[in-house]
């Protein structure tokens, strides 16, 4: 089992831009880390090179080896979670302990409808118009 955990309030993983996300963070490490950091990131994957951006960082100073903390943050307006044939953009929370760099990741969807925007190929889009 991963020694770090991110539990989103109510188990919700799909959000709209500007939503406030509440979560419980817990860790159970062998030694007290120097610091723990929660990151909100988006990354792309697909045929081309991967892009990654850390949008927000919440540091937790002087953590004990085992702890549970609650926090909340407001999601940005964009970019939306989307997926097509060539590229997918995914949002995630990452909790990282330093210096060990133990980490965990919780993927989320950020889009106006709360579900990932699906890009159609031009041919298919024309056919359905």
């Amino acid at each position: 089992m991963n020694p770090l955990q991110i539990d989103l309030s109510g188990g919700q993983t799909a959000f709209e831009p500007g939503d406030e996300v509440e979560m419980t963070l817990s860790w159970e490490l062998d030694e007290a880390p120097e610091s723990i950091e929660l990151r909100l990131v988006w990354s792309t994957s697909g045929k081309g090179t991967t892009d990654l951006e850390v949008v927000m960082t919440v540091p937790f100073e002087f953590p004990y080896s085992s702890e549970t903390r609650r926090t909340s943050l407001v999601l940005p307006a964009s970019p939306y979670s989307f997926s097509g044939k060539l590229i997918t953009l995914q949002w995630a929370f990452e909790l990282i302990a330093f210096p060990s760099e133990d980490s965990t990741r919780q993927e989320i969807v950020l889009a106006p409808t709360g579900s990932e925007v699906r890009l159609k190929s031009l041919q298919k889009a024309k056919a359905t118009d």
């Binding site: 697909g46 045929k47 997918t88 699906r118």
Partner: protein, 192 residues
């Protein structure tokens, strides 16, 4: 199919480790590098795994306490080569090995100058398309069997042997291009 579900997406392809052919292994490679006094070239055609091997070599050396400084050159940044070399020599110390990715992007004179400047460094390891720049550490080669093996690692449902052999021939053994074609084929197959 979502791009992130395609088994041939770039982050998965990049996670494939270099496979030695011709009976080499890390012990023999590191021994040879030591014999060559850390001045050597990884040679091979495009898509033969030169950069993959180079990066794995950097990790090996780092884990042995050897610091490595990278100079990465490609067709897109070759016009900035002078500036990138200057930047690399600002960052590098005599304790470091300089790793040059894409050394073929340097012209003859620029390469000679770089080699001279790097003489005081702990090492100079380059990758390039043709031999003759520095003593060859590894000659990277590909085979269609290697493409089969890599494909099998990426997907439990690999394409037919005939298709893989055809792709291998079509791309002149460039595995990177073969895997990109497989990405497109998988996406098209899912769409159909």
């Amino acid at each position: 199919m979502r791009a992130c579900d395609n088994p041939f997406r770039s982050d998965r392809v990049l996670s494939v480790r270099y496979r030695f052919l011709n009976g080499d292994d890390w012990e023999s490679i590191l021994g040879r590098l030591d014999e060559l006094q850390y001045r050597a070239a990884i040679v091979g055609l495009e898509g033969a795994g030169k950069t993959t091997l180079h990066e794995e070599l950097a990790e090996r050396l780092k884990s042995q306490g050897q610091s490595v400084c990278w100079l990465r050159l490609n067709r897109e940044n070759r016009h900035l080569a002078s500036r990138l070399i200057e930047q690399a020599f600002v960052d590098v110390t005599t304790e470091d090995c300089l790793f040059v990715d894409g050394a073929e992007q340097l012209g003859f004179w620029r390469w000679q100058r770089l080699k001279r400047r790097a003489a005081s460094l702990a090492g100079l390891v380059i990758n390039t398309h043709t031999p003759g720049w520095l003593p060859t550490l590894v000659q990277c080669e590909t085979t269609s069997e290697l493409l089969h093996e890599v494909t099998g690692e990426l997907t439990p449902d690999p394409p037919s042997t005939a298709l893989l052999d055809r792709l291998f021939d079509q791309h002149d053994g460039n595995l990177r291009l073969c895997l990109r074609s497989l990405y497109d084929l998988k996406a098209a197959e899912a769409e159909a």
